[in-house]
Symmetry: D2
Subunit: 321 residues, 4 copies
């Protein structure tokens, strides 16, 4: 369905999801900003859906088809209030395919919007994709209620979800509500219980959600943290640095949010310096600094869709070693 703007698109996604279907929409920065209120609606109503944000150079309309990685923090904090975001970051055409399925699986399992945070480079790259036979794919579907179920919200263990029109008595509101959907806009206990449950259902399963690609993280002098298209330059830079005798370890974020703290903590124990190359003015860097408690070496590049090259990373690695 091609809607007329992003407000209509994300609305249609929520409607389709509550009608019992899996639904997805794709956009880039400005559209992603316009969707923020409804994404919060989806978090609060526990609506499974997938939003693809193909990052391009912002802010504003910026450079419309030029690759960038500047929406990392927005994907975590773009809507108001205390919510938890699940954000995946592919770095190949193969992963665009696989992570889309994974995004749906996570959204169905945890009943929450999931963001597939691509960048223009990865979204448009032309590569061979291995599409497995249908039966070998893992497909997760939301848990359906039993006929007598009445509690459809606010469980850390993820409540079952009826479809509209099936005969369940369910009110769906982004106002604070209890487990049966009844609004409670006065008083602390219900609000506290629900918001904590909505966050806990994600954070208590963080180890299931967080995925990283790791290389030598326990045994390196220089560590690199990267994601998306930039991580492909890291592969080559690491190889060349190792050829030159520098022990490089890296964490590549397949899941950006929840932020994979454990892998990065391990890397930080081993590495003397941590380099964070990213196509923005330093967003992931701040998060790595928060976790590791020390300054990282930032390598930032923006504009025109120009990628950070292996040479640029290698140069920083060699200086840092």
């Amino acid at each position: 369905m091609q809607m007329e703007d992003e407000l209509a698109s994300i609305g249609a996604v929520m409607g389709a999801s509550w009608a019992g279907r899996k639904a997805m929409t794709a956009t880039s920065g400005p559209g992603f900003s316009l969707m923020q209120e409804t994404i919060g609606w989806g978090f609060m109503t526990e609506t499974p859906c997938v939003v693809v944000d193909v990052q391009r150079a912002g802010p504003g309309t910026g450079q419309a088809t030029k690759s960038a990685q500047g929406d990392v923090m927005q994907a975590r904090w773009g809507t108001h209030g205390d919510y938890a975001a699940i954000v995946l970051s592919p770095n190949s055409a193969q992963e665009m395919f696989e992570f889309t399925i994974r995004a749906f699986n996570l959204s169905e399992r945890y009943r929450t919007p999931v963001v597939l945070l691509a960048d223009e480079t990865i979204a448009h790259v032309r590569e061979r994709v291995n599409v497995p036979r249908g039966e070998s794919l893992e497909i997760v579907n939301r848990r359906h209620p039993d006929p007598r179920d009445t509690r459809f919200f606010g469980s850390e263990a993820v409540a079952p979800m009826p479809a509209v029109g099936e005969g369940f008595n369910v009110a769906v509101t982004a106002s604070t509500h209890d487990e049966v959907g009844m609004r409670f806009t006065q008083g602390a206990p219900v609000h506290r219980r629900m918001i904590e449950a909505l966050n806990a259902k994600i954070y208590s399963h963080a180890s299931d959600i967080m995925e990283t690609e790791r290389h030598n993280i326990e045994n390196c002098d220089v560590g690199i943290v990267s994601f998306g298209c930039t991580s492909r330059s890291v592969y080559e830079a690491a190889e060349r640095a190792e050829t030159a005798g520098v022990r490089v370890g890296y964490v590549r974020l397949k899941t950006i949010w929840p932020f994979p703290e454990d892998a990065i903590s391990v890397l930080a124990k081993s590495a003397n310096r941590i380099i964070v190359p990213e196509m923005n003015l330093g967003q992931t860097s701040g998060e790595v600094e928060r976790i590791t408690g020390r300054k990282v070496v930032r390598l930032n590049k923006i504009g025109g869709g120009e990628l950070i090259t292996p040479e640029e990373i290698l140069e920083v690695v060699m200086r840092a070693s």
Copy 2:
């Protein structure tokens, strides 16, 4: 002007600002989310304006008139791309008045949207306000171009701003543009230069923008970082702790973004433990941890508009000391 929704309101604000007037709109969480795209538009086009976000319990519609402090990170990261936010946090009726003027002054001086991030408690508190005589108020107006000026964008020193209809030849676009307003959506140099200038015009003046209230920050055992309504409980808790012999220092954030790193670094040098009480699940806390490189003691409370009391803070202070 009472518009029909938040999209129209923030649009009207931008229109009025380019027509040469000072313009402001006020909203709370959901409306603030809906405004995010246009706030990015304002950053990119360097449009002075003030957005008041009176925080209430979110996410979603949440609890509509219940105080909260959950939009701190959104106020910094809510729109896409690399931008810099100026965000002020009043803690009294007097400051609601003064910071509104200050928000306008900063927006006019730096030609950028400024957020007045209140919470429901401070926005509705009933207190005596001292309104100074007009002539004693500092009022900043945007710099007006000379008749021969042609460069209206992208200066770290802040470019002059014509009003629409005055006869200047000016195109206003949130696409990447050069100093005269010409779109450049290909190529890195213009984008890099402009985005760096837009961020630098704020960060290079951070010391002018950042304001804090400080108490004993160089000479304390326990430090507290707070803002908004919560900071008023800190005053009393600190007093009572000191009476009990605990040396307490605190930083109260009058400016939240850019985040006042210097004051907090000083506090961190002196204090053994830093406590961050806030009416959310821990947003400022993360930022303090990033800057200080160590874990803080979090004191969080959400729901029903219940404030964090002096007793609750005092208890944590005594345990931490």
Copy 3:
């Protein structure tokens, strides 16, 4: 599902409908205006759905809970381009119930948005409603495609409609498209064929869609055309006029659009004068004049939700007789 604004609501309705469910949203004037673009989207994509517009005093926000009948022409012409509207007008609580079902039936049968145009009086009236047993209700469901069907659009006989996710290859766009959903934005033939089919599927079934309540239309001196809450005053006025010896005929519009031309033409042949009482400045009046080729007696009243009384109508009837 309670969405955050009307743009999101109508988007969610479209999403749910293409996910295979029946979907409805309710609003009043300002929200109805905001939905106009997406209602056109629904017409063009042949999306069954129901929009309830409870008319109140406009334009703008007007008087928010005060009854009015001022959206008659907007319900027909509110979105752009050549489209056909189906609009129903209940005049009792019983009909609010029955016409809602009928609106769904018409929307499913003709695959098009249907508007239930109530007024605040009828929407809030408190009356006994007879709810028939489920099995005695006529429920129409959209025609589902056979597995080999590939033509899902643009048939005067109404094409079958797949649900998204069932495996049919279907693109849904409000750009001009052919019977299989392929976009054709150049050239006249496809556009002409499709737009004519979309209009014809409604107008060629107008006799199935148009419903009126008729009284003495072939045998009267004075005719009255009315709808909604106003028609209830007509009942009493007609009775009293007849008691006074005036032969009164009336047409009550249960369907407003397509406009029931035949019934009104019959009335016009018999009646010397036609009176059109309505709570607006004269919208239905114009249409009656267009059809009958003569001026009608207008009886208009707006503001404060004040109804047109039987006495007011009676007075006009007596003067006209």
Copy 4:
């Protein structure tokens, strides 16, 4: 100013207008639909502004750059409630220029949104334009209040309009309000008085607003009513018909709304048949029928931007004569 969507654009226009500037935005069908709520806001708050709708083939996205004339009725009835629309229709590049100025003049004089309803053909036609010297142009500016004025709304004689920020005490709301801007959402008298005044300020000046081009309207066998690009084919068809001995009269609508009833009534008295060629399925036709009380000969053509040719009109003229 290039805003991110039509909601933002029309909002910015209203903001700029209340900031004291003349403001305009341009769009086509889908954007025009999206603007409908705010256009009603502008009518109710008496905000001078100009909206250009360049008609293309709808409904929905339709055929995006293909000429059409399908928004005639929407331009009159697109928003809710009882309002009066001023809509101009140019038929040359020269008139695009002149009518834009005229649209501003009318909007300033009557404090109301004015629609310049072009079609894609006229908006993109390449013709010599005669731009007169500035001093010879008639430029109307809104009436400014005297310092002691307090009544800024709801006068049939058009109230003076302050700019925001000048120090006048003025509330601007699209809710029903009285002459000083005070909201009155209960009770009939204020609503009735204001809505009648807002409509009367336009209809009582209809003779100043309505403009037509007339040819032989008192002395013809066949009459033609047309507007926009179609009227250019009428010129040639009329000439050729007259050469063939058929007396042709025509009215070309320079103002479409308020609909020029007088000119058309005169034409109808003289002509035996009235032909209405238009690039839609028959919108103006209905209005001509309403006024003249008889059926017209409709000549409709849609799709692909194909114009109605002089030959097509000529053929209908010859058959009708």
